[in-house]
Subunit: 305 residues, 2 copies
């Protein structure tokens, strides 16, 4: 793979940025990768583990001379970071981001960017429940989708370079408009996360069942919820506050369906339940065929010898 950008700046050094660094290096996609994190502790860790070619003590320093600046900070602070770096951006540079929400991020970031700077929002649909500079790894994006969400009228060559970078990092790419992105992600990610957080919270609250019991008997389904519910609290708070409409819409539909199934349980309508559960199996099959998960039992957890 050949170099796509001379210099890339990563602002925020968590799971996604650290994985990007390793994936960029693996494929030789950039001449230099600079990095900045607000917390001094994170910057020290980054220097210690060799995360980024150069760790800077300010966002402005990190973006100076960069051809691509990627905002890898929680969705709620994207606008403030954009305002801070705007004066230091190189003419002709591209700004991108990795936020899980797009419409609000575009609204928050775009007004700050000077003329002649391109804005190409992106969202790698990949992650783990871990966070911080040590959590990244080069393979995170391999065979996972990254959605490119260019605002109308975007410069095509700038968009295609960002796509090429993601493909170079191992990702599949698609383009989508911001509103549709936010609805799709409300279904595939935001609502499931809120539901998982809720169920884990209920288990923790219930006095008649101890936390020890919940933990010991979690293999029966609950542990998959806890993985989701262990994700970064700040990131997720910002996701929900910034994709409010779509998330609430999906949760509304979810509650409606849940009530219908609860009613079937209460009235003993076994046929309704069986038909519903049979239908949901097909989606799982589609995900495995699309290569987005493994068919190994329990995701291939180690019990399978």
């Amino acid at each position: 793979m050949s170099q796509i950008y001379n210099r890339v700046a990563l602002i925020g050094l968590g799971l996604i940025a650290s994985s990007m660094f390793h994936a960029i290096k693996r494929a030789g996609l950039a001449g230099e990768v600079t990095g900045y994190a607000r917390s001094e502790e994170t910057r020290d860790t980054a220097r210690e583990i060799g995360l980024c070619d150069r760790v800077c003590d300010s966002a402005v320093e990190a973006v100076e001379g960069a051809d691509l600046v990627v905002l890898c900070v929680p969705v709620g602070v994207m606008g403030a970071v954009a305002a801070e770096i705007a004066p230091a951006l190189k003419p002709g540079a591209t700004v991108s981001d990795v936020g899980s929400v797009k419409a609000q991020v575009i609204a928050a970031v775009a007004p700050h960017l000077p003329d002649g700077v391109h804005f190409v929002p992106a969202h790698p649909v990949a992650g783990t429940e871990h966070s911080g500079p040590r959590s990244g790894f080069a393979e995170l994006f391999d065979n996972r989708w990254t959605l490119i969400v260019p605002p109308p009228g975007s410069d095509r060559s700038a968009v295609e370079r960002v796509e090429a970078l993601w493909q170079g990092m191992g990702a599949l790419t698609d383009e989508m408009d911001a509103e549709h992105h936010d609805l799709v992600l409300a279904v595939t990610s935001h609502a499931p996360h809120l539901i998982a957080y809720t169920m884990v919270g209920v288990a923790d609250d219930l006095r008649r069942v101890t936390d020890t019991e919940v933990i010991k008997y979690s293999a029966a389904g609950f542990r998959d919820f806890t993985r989701i519910a262990a994700s970064d609290p700040t990131m997720w708070r910002d996701v929900f506050l910034n994709n409010k409409e779509a998330t609430l819409e999906i949760l509304g539909r979810f509650t409606e369906e849940l009530f219908a199934l609860q009613r079937a349980i209460r009235t003993g309508d076994g046929d309704h339940l069986h038909a519903y559960f049979t239908r949901t199996r097909a989606i799982r099959r589609g995900i495995i065929e699309a290569g987005q998960d493994t068919d190994a039992p329990n995701f291939g957890r180690s019990n399978r010898g």
Copy 2:
């Protein structure tokens, strides 16, 4: 490990029974294991793959002379199977089961059993989303909990032999009364399954987001729900119909909490969300420390190189 039973009969040859057979053989826990499944196709498969030392064409034939009979059928048919085999049970034999619900199973099975036959209900808290005679493997129960739920006044030596069998198959064991078992499992398994089924159903229903999109972008959380929602429909229909009260109680609390979080999103109460999400992380940590899941990102799915 030495032999615990001379002859064990497995009635129903799905994931749990086939895993039991392999685990029993691995440790030499029984002299002979007979098996029976209602479907001729399943019996043929079992014979073809060497599942059970002897596959019988009737449940009565399978249980004749058995020291332990384990009912591995959906919860809804436990009573009918018990009635069928009761006349053929050897005096002094033990009947057990592996159902995910205990109070209703005890109520359905116990009245059919003749005097002098022991009844020791059990529930291995382990599973995968796969089902059928080919899905079993010897390691399924390793380091997972099996709950033994003896009715009051049970013969202690019969109880301890069942416990020893499960420990021999690699499981950790605990005793619990039926009512508490059903509440604990409603939290750790039954409610999470219904919620996962519901969310997958909502995604499938939504016209504005295609199934292809849901499948492609499932890595963002949704795929964990689909694994749970791919479990056997008949088994789960029976679980919900037979653990109605506890499941509906937990779902009621879940809905209440979900509404509180939805309200926090609507009103923009970020502090409430952040505090809630921080609390749920601790439970995940407990599950990893208790050895009930892996700390590898994404459950160690293959992306982690």
